[in-house]
Each structure stands twice: as structure tokens, then as C-alpha cells.
């Protein structure tokens, strides 16, 4: 009864509110002003209108409050996922460095010793090296000759690579344990850091400046209004997938290696690499874009400090590639891994591939097989490189890297011979590089009160967003697979219309491209009648809370 009464009064109430609103506006706006006020003159060409459309979408994503909703928003245009170029950290084709540099907008500098900011920790590192040297020697000797691990390999990767990485993982765990145990009472940031073993690192972004694939050009040429726009630039979605052996992360970010203003230095410019990735040896796959730096949003230790990667994949490269290309492959791996991890961290701070970073992020990467170690320091300055920004973004990322350096000469009779103290010192200096509090806003594009969905108070909305986010990020196949196009249909229905008399049933017969379906283009779950609110509810379907972009 009471419900009915409220329903009855509701239209009146609404009218009242509307009228008040309109009156308020009218009172403020004066039709006549002293100087004429004109609306801005807009470029009404097709390109300009499309650009404005895209910019409004980017603005909408920027204005979303929480991290997870932004990630869902990036995936909104595709129900079956983006056709992503997949960059695995341990798959590097021949001559891939130019492509990787363009895709990550990274300038690479070969160095022999660490950059200048590491000089202040030099004296401390020397004493630490002397203290830990016997322990390191012992652990290397034991791990190599003293223990026989039972390594379980899977069929998904080459066996050689898995065995080498498993051995490296054990050594790296021991080295990390020895160094952090020694440093905990010397520097404060080591004790508060988190250590992850085999974390899940994923990053997603859009890259512009790549040639339009042949099939798209051919498709465009079929329509007369697209004929002169056949080579119009296209964004390629890129997905990085990687799994380091061990990572260390902290509550505070590392200090920048070079000042942020240096990011626009023209000497760091990277040439555009426009060949399609398939010609280099990278392939694409349908999947939702995911940004995961090894933890879920809401974790306190959200800035990476150091990550260890294996180099077992070099064993499975063809011998004809040569030693020089293997070295480049290590650089590629380091650039991809560092960029991917930092980009995912930046995404957890509310930046996306459409909304650029406002401050630099730094990480340190070590690629090792337990014997050879190469050290990389990476500074992330920019993450927008989609086709609107690829040519006019002045910022570039910077990676400093060394050659692989031998930690020791050999192991004889269970003893390590010739431990290289300089290499060990570099590693200790990576640990001694202390993170610092920054004096600027860390998450300008996140909400003031709601930064992650756990902050949302509305129970329904929070639970729905949580389960949707986790489902999208899991990249499990859809319950109903995408409609299949059989070859006989392609021949007898699309290429040659020989069966015109048959009823039209499939999407292609109605000119529908199933891959253009939007993420929210589905019926929400049905509410059975018994579960609907008493006494009478017209609401048949559950509410969805997709971000409005």
C-alpha cells in the first residue's frame, strides 16, 4: 500500500525537481551580453570529427574513478576481446630490437657501469660484498653440484628452457635471501619490501604508426567511400605476457635515473618501425587487454624495485641467429619485461594507454642464468603511443643495459673459482637503491575517495564490478563461442552467391561482424519471478554496472 502511494506521488515529485532546475538556469543565463559570445568554430571534416569522438572517449576513461573500472572501460569496445599482438618475455624472433623499441617507445643505451645515481651507494656496497661473498660462493656451489632437484616440466614450453630456468630460480632465491638478510639492518626499505616468486605480469596498450594489414586494406577497397582512406592509420592493441623468477616491490617508487625533463631530449628519439609484426615473427590473438603487475589493485606495495628473469629461451633459439642477435634478444627481453611491469603499475595508479603518465617510474631488471648476469635500469616516461599521439608525443622511455657479465669463472671440486666482485657489487647496488617519497600527486586520474572498487560502498555495484573485472582479466573463453564461418559457406555463400534461395540465418548474411560486438552487448542475467521483490516487480533482468564509455 505504501509503495503504491510513493509511486503515485513520484511523477509529481519529478516534475517539481525538473521545474526548479530549469528555473535556476534561466535566472542565471542572460540572453544578451555586452560582447557577443560565439560558440567555438569546429573543424567539421570527417577526420576531425572522428578525432573529437576518440578524444571524448579518452576523456571519459580519464574521468572514471576506480582502477578496475578503467580496465573494464579499455575493453568495452570488444566482446570477444582485442586482436592483440602478443609479446611474450621469453619469445624473441630474429632481429626484433627495432620493433620492440618502437612498440615500447624505448631508447636503449649500452653501459659498462651503472648510471650516476648509484655512485653514492658504492662504498656501502663494497663492504656488503665482502660480507656476503662467502655465502654467495657457498650457495652457488651447493645449488650447482650439491643438490639434485626433481624438475617437473610441462609440454607447453621447450624442455631445455624450463630446466635452465628452474635451476636459475633456485639460485636467484638463495642470492636474494642472502643479500636481503644482510641488508635488512643496514637499510630500512628492504625489510618492508615484498618478494614475489613467479608473479603474473601482463600489460596492455595501443601502438600507432604500424602499417595497415593487407586484409584490412583489401576490405576497405571494397567500399567506394573507403577507397582513398585505405591506408588510414590503425591502432594495434599489444599485450605483454611475462613471468619473472622473482620480484621485489615496495610502497614507494624509486628515484628517477635522469630528470623528467630529459625525457623530451631528441637524442632519445626512436625511429618508427612500421612493418606489420607478423613479418618479424610476432603473432596476434583475440584476448581482453589486461594490466597485472603481479598483485591485485589495493595492495600497499605497488611500486616495483627489482625483477629477476631467466634466459633459458636463448637455448632454444636457432644457432644460425648468432651471438650478436642473442645479445639483442636479451635487450629485447629486458625492455619488454621492464616496460610491461611499469606500465601495469602505472595502470594501477590510474594512468592508461590513453591518459599519459605525469611522473617517471623506474625499475631494475636482472637477466640471469645463475652464472651470467646482465643488468638493466629502465625509466618509464610515457605510455601513450596510439596513432593520434605516436608522432607528436615528444617523450621517450629510456633503458640502460649492460652486457652479460660472468658472476664467477668456474666451479671446481665443489668450490667457486674467481667470483667477480664487481658484478656482485652491481647487484647489491640495485638492492641499496632506496625508494623515496615523491612530493607530487601520485594518482591524479583516480577519484578522491574511490580509488579501487573495494572503496565503493554500494554492495551490489562493488560485487558486480569485482566479479566482472576478475572474469575479464582471467581471459577464459566465453560461454558461447564466437559464431563460426565454415569454409563451404565462404565459398558458396560469400564468394559466389549460389544458395540465394536459402533462408538467411548466420551473422554474415545480415552484414554483422560478430567481432565488433561491444562488451555490454548481451542480456543481463534473468531474475526468476520467485526471486523478484514482493509484491510486484517489473524488473526482469539484473542491473549491470559497465562503465559508460
Amino acid at each position: 500500500m505504501r509503495l503504491l502511494r510513493i509511486n503515485g506521488t513520484f511523477p509529481k515529485l519529478r516534475k517539481l525537481i525538473c521545474r526548479r532546475y530549469a528555473q535556476a538556469i534561466q535566472a542565471e543565463e542572460n540572453e544578451y551580453t555586452e560582447t557577443p559570445v560565439y560558440p567555438p568554430i569546429l573543424d567539421m571534416s570527417l577526420q576531425a570529427r572522428k578525432l573529437r569522438e576518440r578524444e571524448t572517449i579518452h576523456k571519459k576513461i580519464e574521468n572514471i574513478n576506480t582502477v578496475e573500472e578503467k580496465q573494464i572501460a579499455l575493453n568495452m569496445p570488444r566482446y570477444y576481446g582485442w586482436q592483440c599482438v602478443i609479446l611474450h618475455d621469453d619469445k624473441v624472433p630474429y632481429n626484433a630490437l627495432p620493433l620492440v623499441q618502437h612498440y615500447t617507445r624505448t631508447s636503449f643505451k649500452n653501459i659498462d657501469k651503472l648510471p650516476d645515481i648509484y655512485t653514492q651507494s658504492s662504498s656501502v656496497a663494497d663492504s656488503v660484498v665482502q660480507e656476503i661473498k662467502p655465502y654467495i660462493e657457498e650457495c652457488i656451489a651447493i645449488e650447482n653440484e650439491g643438490v639434485e632437484h626433481n624438475i617437473v616440466t610441462s609440454v607447453h614450453k621447450p624442455e631445455q628452457q624450463q630446466i635452465e630456468n628452474a635451476k636459475t630460480r633456485n639460485i636467484v632465491k638463495q642470492i636474494n635471501r642472502i643479500i636481503s638478510n644482510n641488508l635488512t639492518d643496514k637499510v630500512s626499505h628492504i625489510l618492508s619490501s615484498q618478494v614475489d616468486y613467479d608473479p603474473r605480469h601482463e600489460a596492455f596498450w595501443f601502438i600507432g604508426g604500424v602499417d595497415v594489414p593487407n586484409n584490412v586494406v583489401n576490405w576497405r577497397k571494397k567500399f567506394k567511400w573507403l577507397k582513398d582512406r585505405a591506408h588510414e592509420p590503425l591502432d594495434r592493441p599489444v599485450q605483454y605476457l611475462g613471468s619473472p623468477l622473482l620480484t621485489i616491490r615496495n610502497q614507494l617508487p624509486l628515484k628517477p635515473v635522469i630528470p623528467y625533463s630529459e625525457a623530451e631530449n631528441p637524442e632519445f628519439k626512436v625511429p618508427v618501425y612500421s612493418c606489420v609484426p607478423e613479418t618479424v615473427g610476432y603473432y596476434s590473438n583475440y584476448r581482453h587487454g589486461t594490466n597485472i603487475p603481479g598483485f591485485w589493485p589495493g595492495d600497499f606495495d605497488e611500486f616495483g624495485m627489482l625483477s629477476y628473469h631467466g634466459r633459458g629461451h636463448l637455448l632454444d633459439r636457432s644457432e644460425s641467429y648468432g651471438a650478436e642477435d642473442n645479445l639483442e634478444a636479451l635487450h629485447c627481453q629486458a625492455i619488454k619485461a621492464s616496460f610491461g611491469w611499469l606500465l601495469a603499475q602505472a595502470n594501477y595508479k590510474g594512468f592508461t594507454t590513453y591518459n599519459d603518465l605525469t611522473y617517471p617510474l623506474v625499475t631494475q631488471t636482472v637477466i640471469t642464468n645463475g652464472h651470467l648476469m646482465s643488468f638493466y635500469v629502465y625509466q618509464l616516461n610515457t605510455i601513450t603511443m596510439h596513432s593520434d599521439k605516436v608522432d607528436n608525443n615528444p617523450k621517450y622511455n629510456i633503458c640502460f643495459g649492460t652486457k652479460p657479465l660472468a658472476l664467477y669463472d668456474s666451479i671446481e671440486n665443489g668450490k667457486v673459482k674467481g667470483l667477480n666482485e664487481d658484478v656482485l657489487k652491481m647487484l647489491v647496488q640495485f638492492y641499496l637503491n632506496a625508494p623515496e617519497e615523491r612530493d607530487h600527486e601520485m594518482a591524479p586520474f583516480l577519484g578522491k575517495e574511490e580509488q579501487i572498487i573495494a572503496d565503493i560502498e554500494d554492495d551490489n555495484r562493488r560485487c558486480w564490478l569485482e566479479s566482472t573485472y576478475k572474469h575479464i582479466v582471467s581471459n577464459r573463453p566465453k560461454h558461447l563461442l564466437p559464431p563460426e564461418l565454415y569454409l563451404w559457406e565462404k565459398i558458396y555463400k560469400i564468394k559466389f552467391n549460389t544458395r540465394f534461395f536459402e533462408a538467411k540465418r548466420k551473422p554474415f548474411e545480415f552484414d554483422i561482424n560478430p567481432f565488433n560486438r561491444r562488451l555490454d552487448d548481451h542480456l543481463p542475467p534473468y531474475i526468476p519471478k520467485v526471486l523478484r521483490p514482493y509484491p510486484r516487480s517489473k524488473k526482469k533482468f539484473e542491473t549491470t554496472y559497465y562503465p559508460k564509455v
Binding site: P93, Y94, N95, D211, P213, N214, S274, C275, V276, T279, V280, G281, S318, S320, Y321, G322, D325, I491, Y492, K495, F496, T498
Partner: protein, 150 residues
């Protein structure tokens, strides 16, 4: 190696010799832009990556870093006059990677030399002139065939 079946070896002359092996490779223009050190070939369907590598290294003495192959489906077309649909043969593509210091440009086979175009135009003009003369001569007897003259 050839895939043809040969009669069993017999002593004495004349011996059977292979002149046209079944393994062939045809250099083709790439479909889109690719790295300058990559070369595209069509080859016999039976050839494997190793065959392609050996073919180029052993016969032409060109170093090969990597070979990728794929089989492209032949085109479907309507048989002219018959109306039914037929399919062309499949083609195997071989994408050969040379060392990155090497560069390959697809040669311009049908290059036009200087003066070629002028000669063509000259002969065309002459033909046009003689045709005009012929029309002029025979304008009074338009229905008489060209071979009927003195």
C-alpha cells in the same frame, strides 16, 4: 632431391640423369612491406624448411638465418562457360630471413630504357596515319572489303 620415382639402378651406360627436379623456388614480390633482409618465395609444396634452406645455401651460396613457410589456399573461381566453381592449386610460401646486414631489393625486371617510349609513339603515329590514308582513299566505297583493291 627429387620426389620422382626412378627405376632401380642398373650397371652400365647410359645412366639416368635428373634435369628437371621437382624442387623449384620462385622469387616473388612481397605482399606488403617487410624487413629489408627478408625474401619471399613460392616453392614446391613438398619442400620443407630445411629443403628451402639447403636449396638457397647450397645452390646459390646465400647465407640463410631463418625460414618460415606457409601454404596459401588457391583461389576459387567460376569455370568460364561451365558455371561451376573450381579451385586453383595451393601455393607454398617461403619467407627467408637473411643476416640483418644483408639487404634485398626486388629487381625491377621490366625496366623501361630511355627512348623505348619514343619508338612506340612513333610507330603508333605511323599506323594512325596509314589508317587515315586508307579511310580517305576508300571513302566513296565504304562497303567494299579492304582486300578488294588493285
Amino acid at each position: 632431391m627429387s620426389t620422382r620415382w626412378y627405376p632401380i639402378y642398373q650397371k652400365g651406360n647410359p645412366q639416368l640423369r635428373v634435369f628437371l627436379p621437382n624442387f623449384w623456388m620462385k622469387l616473388v614480390r612481397p605482399e606488403g612491406r617487410q624487413q629489408p633482409s627478408k625474401v619471399t618465395f613460392h616453392c614446391s609444396i613438398e619442400m620443407t624448411k630445411h629443403d628451402v634452406k639447403n636449396y638457397i645455401e647450397k645452390i646459390y651460396n646465400v647465407p640463410v638465418v631463418d625460414v618460415k613457410t606457409r601454404i596459401a589456399m588457391g583461389k576459387f573461381r567460376k569455370d568460364i562457360g561451365k558455371g561451376y566453381i573450381v579451385k586453383d592449386d595451393d601455393v607454398k610460401f617461403a619467407y627467408v630471413t637473411l643476416p640483418k646486414t644483408m639487404k634485398f631489393d626486388f629487381p625491377n625486371i621490366f625496366e623501361k630504357k630511355k627512348g623505348d617510349g619514343d619508338d612506340d609513339m612513333k610507330s603508333l603515329d605511323e599506323a594512325k596515319k596509314s589508317f587515315k590514308n586508307y579511310i580517305e582513299r576508300n571513302k566513296d566505297r565504304s562497303d567494299v572489303p579492304s582486300w578488294f583493291s588493285i
